[in-house]
Symmetry: C2
């Protein structure tokens, strides 16, 4: 079978064709970073009543008009608003009620004068030395959200403040997409479990652990099937088992032509298998295979962990976003930053090259220093903070050029 | 007691004085985003043997010198390297062994010729049409890391590729700092549990949920003590209980002078309490209290969730990094990005103002649009992507100015 190597854009388009996994309902305490599977409509006004945003006195604004240090307004004290209670009384012209931050504005009042502009004259009278405007220092009923208003769209990824809003509206059970389950199979006759001391020619299983951690970071659940020999029957059996209950399957290994061909043969042995991608015009990561079996995507990833990780960052990350139901608004920003390249980097045209860079800051600017070393070395990934793409239509990037760095993970906040 | 309001810088300096929590040993499968409590030294060379990075033939490089399409070199086939096995034989001058990607380089060979530059002449002979240099297409023993080399410093936050490297070295038990435990107490006579329908003057408990989610996001463990009335005895008891087993305590509520004073009185009732901060020159978030009780920091946070969240982003985030033992190298980048401000924003000098902004992208640039609205509104936080600081020595920021946006959370990758 002849298969043209696909461009990154073609592959991204193919991956967008998959559907999100199903939904479930979870308690609010577990909702951080989960993805809403339904839009959320406010069932009430928030806040449910007008509140003071300051410590002070609830008044009728016009009673303070013209008030100043030299000409204070005198108001009769009509009691105090107790926190968490309905005010006992109302404010009529010439009156004021003491109120704390968050207290309920009494009927009749339309503003709050801050405490520091009020002075007690006697037990029953205060003087006000500042004019307040109507609604000043008041958070009105429904100022945050009104009953019936859409507060979150389907596909929103919940942050702490979003969870706070759901709590404020009394929404304790949250409808979210399930976390996608990812079956991970690591192949290769040379690979041994990590507790084992490798013999000559053997290496430990790096990929299962790297890809599992990658899944966790992306909000998915890794199902680690462990090692598999380069053997048709064994791979067929493991893939079949994991396809039954996982949402996608990632088979890593097979950078050699022989093992890659076998992965394709295994996939072809499933009914209705459609080979979508056999090779991508990127480096590293070219020998990537993507097939559809039923409604599920199965990936054959390069055996070199560094190549597998580049494919994961560039393709599996957005693919998991699709499966997770995340809606990334078009105006949304990338998890990337602009940096100035520290050296010239050559590239072969006809494929997108992803180079690994280390970031540092100088004079408030980010600098990106290419990490050199053979792409099979995991050290190049460990030293790097992110990737820079060299487009297939260019022959390289120049020192001093501003480039966009796709971050492996948000760099820590230092402040 | 008179207390001068402290600047942000003074507060950050105070918070750096606290010590990381203790350590524990965890399995590698749970190590994502955990912080190493010890440096890690490689106990072996990685890789442990020289490997081929291509499918091809292992040869002596000098046997190929001068080889070209028009003048191929002829080599005798001396067998094949089986994956995961020690090569059966060695390569002497004039010989070649077939090898797959990842295979062990046989003794005598010092380079690999890619498959596509080799052609079988007969069963025992190949012709090579390209010169290879010594070490070409070989990953040498120890190229990644050498035995005895420090591979991770104490304080490193583990990413997927870092976990891959630990797996590759057979390190299954990882020494990390414990996750800090944060006791969270939400106070206020007006606050009711979220399952309850608030009566007049009452609101649901937003802060416990927001701060708990914030802790989870920062890699800490929230211990939610629930609601507490504005009552000395109750607050004293809850704070005392949680101080026994948590690493830090956060008491939110008390934006009114009265409740703030009570929080201070409760803290003062503990032996050896030292009031470190009583007010910070920032807005929102000024009425923040920080005390040291024993070795633990106790925070009194503003009751308005929007103010509490700003304090959390600016101070509690780096504080949790300190407790977690994270080492943020000085060259490290912020979780922030540069954006062009969309409107003028005024500010009061003498305090650092944090405005909330919404980001969008236009022509490859980020634009930051200030979210207006009273700071007590949670909607302003929900609409925002991050914060922009207006330094206390400036009177505002101008439309068109480039500003640094501290992101609430990494914005999603769209690619």
């Amino acid at each position: 079978m002849f298969f043209k190597v696909k461009t990154s854009e073609e592959v991204q388009e193919i991956l967008k064709g998959f559907k999100p996994v199903g939904m479930e309902t979870i308690p609010i305490s577990e909702a951080l970073n989960r993805v809403l599977a339904k839009e959320i409509v406010s069932q009430e006004d928030m806040p449910g009543f007008s509140r003071s945003s300051m410590d002070g006195y609830a008044v009728r604004a016009k009673d303070t008009f013209g008030a100043a240090d030299s000409l204070p307004a005198f108001l009769d004290l009509a009691g105090e608003v107790i926190m968490g209670k309905e005010p006992d009384g109302r404010v009529i012209s010439g009156k004021a009620m003491k109120i704390s931050t968050g207290g309920m504005i009494p009927d009749g009042a339309d503003a709050v004068v801050m405490l520091e502009y009020c002075h007690s004259v006697d037990e029953k009278t205060i003087e006000v030395s500042r004019t307040v405007a109507p609604l000043e220092n008041i958070i009105g009923k429904g100022d945050d959200f009104r009953k019936g208003e859409v507060i979150f769209k389907k596909g929103t990824v919940l942050r702490p403040q979003d969870i706070g809003l759901l709590a404020g509206l009394g929404i304790e059970k949250i409808p979210v997409y399930r976390k996608p389950q990812v079956g991970i199979i690591s192949t290769g006759d040379e690979v041994v479990p990590i507790h084992q001391k490798p013999g000559p020619g053997q290496v430990r299983d790096i990929n299962s652990y790297t890809l599992s951690a990658f899944c966790l970071q992306a909000g998915a659940i890794p199902v680690n099937l462990g090692l598999c020999k380069d053997n048709f029957e064994e791979m067929r059996e493991k893939a079949g088992k994991v396809l039954e209950f996982c949402d996608t399957v990632w088979i890593s290994g097979g950078s050699s032509v022989g093992t890659r061909d076998m992965t394709v043969k295994v996939l072809e042995s499933f009914d209705g298998m459609e080979l979508l991608v056999h090779g991508i015009a990127i480096s590293p990561g070219k020998p990537t295979i993507i097939a559809r079996i039923g409604s599920k995507a199965v990936f054959g990833l390069p055996g070199h962990v560094a190549s597998a990780m580049v494919v994961a960052e560039i393709f599996l990350n957005p693919f998991l976003a699709v499966l997770s139901g995340k809606v990334l608004s078009s105006g949304n920003a990338h998890q990337s930053l602009q940096a100035v390249l520290e050296r010239n980097v050559e590239s072969v045209s006809g494929r997108d090259d992803y180079i690994r860079v280390k970031l540092c800051q100088r004079n408030g600017k980010y600098l990106a220093d290419p990490v050199f070393g053979k792409s099979g070395l995991i050290s190049t990934l460990v030293e790097a903070d992110g990737l820079v793409k060299i487009d297939r239509n260019t022959e390289g990037l120049y020192k001093g050029q501003t480039v966009s760095v796709l971050l492996f993970r948000p760099v820590e906040n230092e402040e």
